[in-house]
């Protein structure tokens, strides 16, 4: 299996005023195959969002390389995105900021359709139906929708472009607790249905457990463990993973405090 996405020794750092450079992602190597769902988990500040942004070309690399389907991912900067890289799409964390408030839902989804190599793959009503929204949503504006609905629209827009890799950067963290699992499940099923891979980034281990095939555990800029979700859950190798998993409260009714 040739990898769809290949990361080699990726390092990303930030300048922080008055301090040494902050290394957010440190020597990360990772590969992701086609039609695979990889969950990337870790605590806040571990560098997982920076890694997601780097994969989309939104961060410059200090060293290392990111290759997507044979094309090197370069920093987007002020250029128009390479057509090949349009096959990577992202769903952002904050559904209230990820849609243009002044354009109708239909037009924003059409933005996605426009770059889909297979022009007849989707229609707007089709996509809306797939994310469980009414067709009338098309002519409405974002402010008329709830957070969960907006996130579905953002997913529809990303899927509209026919991506081979869908990156979700904490896509459910801002959603109402009871909606989180459903939206995550929707991302998985849509990605797989369209033949795309999904990189799902979350600090919510229980959701990743349910939707991912593979899981990568990130801590302090490094990936400490990677493997099949069930294997990692049932037999974690690294102390950090063990610690993380044992901190999840168990639903056993015994009243045992975790950690």
């Amino acid at each position: 299996m040739t990898a769809l996405l290949e990361l080699e020794g990726v390092k990303v750092s930030y300048r922080v005023a008055g301090r040494p450079r902050l290394v957010a992602v440190d020597d990360v190597s990772l590969s992701l195959g086609t039609r695979q769902v990889l969950g990337l988990v870790g605590e806040s500040g571990c560098g997982k969002s920076t890694l997601a942004r780097a994969i989309c070309g939104l961060e410059g690399l200090d060293s290392g390389s990111i290759t997507f389907d044979g094309t090197p991912v370069t920093r987007l900067g002020m250029r128009t995105r390479d057509r090949k890289l349009l096959r990577i799409q992202m769903v952002f964390q904050n559904p209230y900021a990820s849609l243009n408030p002044r354009r109708t839902i239909g037009r924003q989804i059409e933005d996605g359709l426009r770059v889909n190599p297979d022009r007849t793959a989707w229609t707007v009503p089709d996509l809306l139906a797939h994310v469980e929204l009414d067709a009338s949503a098309r002519s409405r504006f974002p402010h008329q929708f709830s957070g969960g609905q907006r996130q579905r629209i953002a997913i529809a827009r990303a899927i509209a472009s026919g991506p081979d890799l869908l990156v979700g950067d904490e896509p459910i963290a801002s959603l109402d607790a009871s909606l989180q699992a459903r939206v995550a499940g929707l991302m998985r099923s849509l990605a797989l249905e369209t033949g795309a891979s999904l990189l799902f980034i979350s600090h919510d281990l229980s959701v990743v457990r349910v939707i991912a095939d593979d899981v990568a555990v990130m801590s302090r800029g490094r990936i400490v463990e990677r493997g099949d979700v069930n294997e990692v859950w049932s037999n974690p190798q690294q102390p950090y993973t063990k610690q993380l998993l044992s901190a999840i409260p168990k639903v056993d009714g015994l009243g045992v405090l975790p950690g």
Binding site: E43, S44, D176, A177, S178, L179, H203, L205, S206, R209, V210, N230, E231, W233, S234, N235, P236, K242, Q243, L244, L245, S246, A247, I248, P249, K250, V251, D252, G253, L254, G255, V256, L257, P258, G259
Partner: protein, 279 residues
């Protein structure tokens, strides 16, 4: 100011709340009865829209202005729903305190932790600044904020999410309340940080004899922390009982569905390595 902890609990009887009038009225709470006894953690579970947050808000007198409320919320022999606003305001913060999901929402970004913790206390007790700051330091120590004396001089943005939630809890217990309403207190936190906050809430409940009403959708948190669990659905309590019974042998089909919806091994844990579960 504070009530003797023996009578410190809260009794909710047939609480109803609706928004709007007549035919179109939306009934958010349809007769909630629940005891929140002192020294115990009472869990209120349910999906969003079930009315669990609204129940907590109504106890605090923070329900929407246009809402019509019925029933009784008994605290220290008085019905909170009949108290004049002024009395309720004194009660809130002094005897009944609250902790929310987002600690930044209850802390002023431009004021030092020291002045935020002491303001309310000094206003209500006439304590001197020195005494109040000393009390604040003790409380910060109690909630295990590292370097309590130094923390008094810091500002909210200088703390991590978990530490800030501890500060918010400190702020809630400054006036020695007898009831604490905790609405999704750990939902925004990483699991390892969450574990610490859960531990802290349990300690406060045991040590101070607090009556805690824990509102959360997370059954894991419920199972770890609550003594009794009430499950809400569409404004009604469908099940209420001992933690172990509700989690392991739910009587209500909705509760059972909620629990069955969890990953098969009932969440997770490293010790599964030993049981060899490879589901």
């Amino acid at each position: 100011m504070s009530q003797p902890s023996a009578s410190g609990g809260l009794g909710i009887r047939d609480l109803t709340l609706s928004i709007g009038r007549g035919e179109k009225a939306k009934r958010i709470l349809r007769g909630i009865s629940l005891d929140v006894p002192a020294g115990r953690i009472t869990g209120l579970a349910g999906e969003s829209g079930s009315g669990k947050t609204m129940t907590g808000m109504t106890v605090l007198g923070l329900q929407p202005e246009q809402a019509t409320v019925g029933g009784v919320i008994e605290f220290d022999g008085r019905n909170l729903l009949e108290l004049p606003t002024k009395k309720l305001n004194t009660l809130r913060g002094n005897d009944i305190a609250m902790v929310f999901q987002d600690p930044t929402s209850s802390l002023h970004p431009m004021l030092s932790i020291g002045s935020q913790l002491t303001d309310h206390l000094r206003q209500h007790t006439g304590m001197s600044k020195r005494e109040a700051l000393e009390r604040a330091r003790v409380v910060l120590e109690q909630v295990k904020v590292p370097d309590p004396a130094g923390a008094l001089k810091k500002y909210p943005h200088q703390f991590s999410g978990g530490q800030l939630q501890r500060v918010a809890i400190a702020s809630a217990i400054m006036c020695s309340p007898s009831v604490l309403i905790a609405d999704e207190p750990t939902t925004a936190l990483d699991v390892t940080v969450q574990a610490g906050i859960l531990r802290l809430l349990r300690e406060l409940c045991d040590d101070l004899g607090l009556a805690i009403l824990l509102v959360t959708h997370d059954l894991g948190v419920m199972s770890a922390l609550a003594d009794t669990i009430a499950v809400m659905r569409e404004g009604e309590i469908v099940e209420h009982g001992d933690r172990f019974q509700v989690i392991t042998a739910p009587r209500d089909p909705y509760t059972r569905a909620l629990i069955d919806a969890l990953p098969r091994d009932g969440s997770t844990g490293a010790e599964q390595a030993t049981t060899g579960d490879a589901s």
